[in-house]
Each structure stands twice: as C-alpha cells, then as structure tokens.
Symmetry: C2
Subunit: 330 residues, 2 copies
C-alpha cells in the first residue's frame, strides 16, 4: 500500500485517527481551516500552517521568488480569514537548495512582507535549511474575538450560500502559465489570480463584525470539494445553481483557447482563495451592502442533509461530482 | 553568488535584515530559540518551528519513522525548554513522497505523540502534501510565566556556565549510524542519543521555578557555536574548561574506533539538546541539588566582553574556534 493508493484524503483520514485526544483548551482541532484554542480574555487563538513544495505547488520557471513569498503568506492568511480572525504572527520554515542565489531569498522575504504587513502580520521566527527542492511552510498565529468565530460546522438548512469575488481564475491562470509564453493579450489579470491571490481578510472582518455567517471556508481545493467539507462538517445538504457561479471574466476565454469548461475551473480548479459562506437569507441584502466593493454572489442554498449535494443546471438537478486536485493520486 | 558561498549563518543574517520591524507585542523576535509574544495575563506566548529534511537531517536507511516523529517533536520541545516554557500545541507540515507506505505515516505520528503527550502537547493541525523527499516542519506554541522567561541575552560577567547531561553523544551516535551495521557491542545508548533525544523540559522547569538562570540556550549546533550565540546576545565573553566538559560515556570509545576527538564531538557535533545556561555562582549548589537526577556540570564562567571566548586546556587558554555544521557550505 502506498500513499498514491489512498490519496490525500485517505491520508488526512489516517492522520485524524492518529491525533492526540482533544478537548480541554482545544475548541477546534484538525478538520477546519485553523485550530481554535480557548484562552483567557475576549479572544481565541487561531493556529494554522501550509506548505508549498517546488514541482508540486509551483514551478520556478513561471513563479518569481517574490510571488512565491506573497502566495505562501496568502494561503495562510486566507485560512485565518475564513475563521473570522485577525492574523498576527508568522513562523517561516524555508528549505532551500544550496545553489540558490541569496538575492532570490531576499525577494522571497519581500513578497512575504509585502502581503503580511498589509494585514499587520509580523514574521517572528523560522528555520532555514538546505534541501534538494525549494519548500516553504508557514505557520500563522491569529486571534479571533470569541463572538466572531465562524467554523465550517454551523450551516443550517434554509441558509443562503454565498461566495466572494470570482472563481476559476486561479485555474485559468495556471493553465496559461503551464502552457508557457507568449501569453494571449489581456490575460495579466487571470495570471495574477494564480500567482498572487488576495486573501479576503477585510471582507471576512466586515461579515463577522456586522452579520451572523453560520459557516465559512476558503476555496483552496475548488468550490465542489470545499463545499463538500462545509456541508459534511455542518451535517447538511446543499444545492448550487451553476448559472450563478461568478466566473472570472477571463476564464471563459482561457477555456476557449486551451479547452475545458470555465465552470470546471471554478468547481474543481481550486486556489481562488475566495470565501464560501452561509448566511440566514434575511441577512443577504445587508451583506451585499457591506461588501459592495467586492462581488458577492448567492450561488445556492443549504438543504436538509438527506437531500445531499446537488447542482442545478437550467433547473435540472443532479448530484454534484466532488473531486479536487489530489497531490498523491497516480 | 549562491547560498553555499554565504553559508547558513550568512543566510540567517540576510533574513534578519529582511524582517518586519518588530516591537509592540513582540518581546523577542528572530535570534533566540523561540519568539516571545506579550499578551494579557500572567504568561507570554512562545512560538518556534524547526524542519527536518530527508538526506540533510536524517536518512531513512537508519531512521525509523517512529524515531523521526519523536525527533521532530524533540527538537522543537527543546527550544521551548531553553526559554523556561511549557509546550502546548503543535502544527505538523508533512511533505511525503507518493510511494510512502501509509503505515509508515502512522508510525511517524506514533513517535510524535509518544514524546509530545509526555509533555502535554496536543497536535492541533497541520498540512500534508506530496514531495520528492520526506520533509517535516513542526511549529510549536508554548507559554511561559512572565517571571520565568529566560533568553540568550542575560548572562553577566562572573556568572557560572553550566550544562545538563552529557555532550558528544549525538555526534558519536551519528558517526556509528553513518558507518552502518553491525554496530560495536554496547553502543545502543550513544545511538539512541542521536535518534531519540530527550528534551530537558523538566530540568528547565525546575531551574526557572526555583533559581534565576540569567541566560539559557539548547545545544543544537554544538557547544562552541551555541555558546557563541549566547555570549554574543548577552554582550559578554566566556571561558570554558575543556577537562570539565561532560562527555557521553561512549563518546571516547566511538572516537577510538572511528577517529576524531570526543571533545570535538561535544564542541562541534551538535544535536545533543542539552541545556547550556548561566547562573549566579551562589546558586550553583542549589541547582545541583534540584537537578540531582540529571548530571549538571560547571564547565566555565562568563567573562567581560573584551576577554572574548576562550577555552582552557590544562590551564592554558586559547581562543575557542567557533564552527558548526553548516547545511549550505560546500
């Protein structure tokens, strides 16, 4: 038996079973975007980490070190956003081939800081070591006011399902990057979506401070897989309306050039780092006003658990195929 | 210019310069065993991370996955110990080749938990991804009572310099492991010192709760290099007495078999994960009583900064050569 046989989610299931018994100060352990730790005062502590590996998550032939630093910070910030929290401190584990140019390491840190400082994150420590491939793992520590915490598990039947921004851009951009230069004209925006995503911390803050989102997750593995996590943790079903999925404005054009469906980019591509959340229907209008600078789209609704996860296309419902990128699959 | 030209410490210096401006809630940032964060209540938060990379820090032909889990936890626990703290929560970034046997991943977690639970650590989150080589990075979050915090920077001229346990064992054990089986008889102990070190959390707790250690560091890079960090951060000099260095009981025998000096194992080998600390001389006797179950040895004294860092051998003083293992050097 090998990891490629059980896949990434088989591995996560295995690791979940090997965890220490939780409880006590651990309010949320493995299975959400961050761990949540009880402590004195008005806040919970949020703890998360994410690793990016050369050749798996990025390729240096189309990723500048500054972009890599930005993205390594962004993917962690996005996890803090999806809990309704505020990021505070980062630890950076950086594994570098000995032939790396030190200037590139500086550029990596510039990217880390450029995004981190925008949201008040201090890089307080880390570890550097040599490695045959470039690998970075960031641990991010944040805080959330107790009354602002949103997990994956609070969605209720009847809630509206919303998403910030647009989807499918990161996958469309990646497809262009993988095909290589020259890129078709006017594609800078969609390529940026892959290389330097912007985590939705501001939007999450507005939501949790003013409304009562019942569940939230960031879209890192694709709309289908991340929605399946949300409904599984909440013990509900859901329906998404395919026509309502807000596609990145260039996703359709990329699909025309390179093949594929822009809806598949959104559903199965991942790395858009938008917020997917549920809200009592009477709060949707207020959410639109609050987030008027950001696209905010109702893409479906939460159903009782026995209705499962369905997608409706032109009024026709069918079970949503749930799959995502699996690092370990053959 | 390449990293192998500037070396690990050139790289650390470069990264230090690229840090965010610190201050505010960050009491100690990069440059100690952990970061120290001010917060409400009686405690500071301690944050640290350390990565282990296959082929650099360990080889799977002589390291079982369970031992790797233990060691990945141990090196981080040791950093918390050296600040006088209590470890609490771990995040585990695990990068694995797709051909890894899932059972080996379980064994890795058993090792992590076996040591972590001994000291009350909960594994609360992490990330798994595929990778061409096995890599683990652990971020550990701990706490320390404000009055118990010990950094690298408080040593004063006249203080005694002490070390727990014995030194040179990890390097001796590694030399045997690298040479390969069969190992000479009676060498299990020294091999264990390399594979499954025991962090000195209990000893650190006894020290900070009962005495006033002025500076403390764990010996991960060898006595010479770690002492040089301590005196640099404290702005002092130091003298060590070579004859007093407590050698691992099998270090001399390994040196006889494989060549080298057991004192060099202790000074330059690293990975012993003992505590090196400074204490007002009138507290040394009390320290010995408190740590009577652990070897505790006075190995030198702190001097004014202009006396530098010296080693005395048979009463003859000479400047201590400072070097350690450099992951990046050619």
């Amino acid at each position: 038996m090998k990891l490629e046989d059980i896949g990434e989610f088989g591995l996560i299931e295995l690791i979940r079973k090997e965890q220490s018994p939780q409880g006590g100060e651990v309010l949320v352990g493995i299975g959400d975007d961050t761990a949540v730790i009880k402590q004195g005062g008005d806040d919970y502590l949020l703890l998360t980490c994410d690793a990016l590996v050369e050749g798996v998550h990025f390729h240096l032939d189309y990723t500048a070190y500054r972009e890599l630093g930005w993205k390594a910070m962004a993917v962690n910030l996005s996890d803090i956003a999806s809990m309704g929290g505020v990021p505070k401190y980062a630890l950076v584990s950086l594994c570098l081939p000995p032939l790396t140019d030190p200037l590139k390491v500086k550029e990596f840190y510039w990217g880390l800081r450029e995004l981190g400082e925008r949201f008040g994150v201090g890089i307080v420590g880390g570890d550097t070591t040599s490695s045959p491939v470039l690998m970075v793992s960031i641990a991010l520590i944040g805080r959330v006011r107790k009354e602002h915490l949103v997990t994956r598990s609070g969605a209720r039947s009847g809630d509206s399902l919303l998403v910030t921004g647009t989807l499918g851009g990161a996958e469309g951009g990646l497809k262009l990057l993988k095909r290589g230069r020259p890129y078709p004209k006017g594609m800078e925006g969609i390529i940026r979506r892959h290389l330097t995503p912007m985590p939705r911390l501001k939007e999450a803050k507005l939501l949790v401070e003013n409304l009562e989102p019942t569940a939230m997750i960031d879209i890192s593995d694709g709309l289908a897989l991340d929605l399946s996590h949300l409904i599984e943790e909440s013990g509900v079903g859901a329906e998404i309306w395919r026509e309502k999925i807000p596609l990145h404005p260039q996703a359709e054009e990329v699909a025309k050039i390179l093949g594929g469906s822009p809806y598949d980019f959104a559903l199965y591509g991942g790395e858009d780092y938008e917020l997917l959340f549920t809200l009592p229907p009477d709060q949707v209008e207020r959410a639109r006003e609050l987030l008027k600078e950001t696209d905010l789209t109702s893409i479906g609704q939460i159903l009782p658990s026995d209705e499962g996860l369905v997608i409706s296309v032109g009024g026709q419902k069918s079970p949503l195929v749930v799959k995502g990128y699996d690092h370990f699959s053959k």
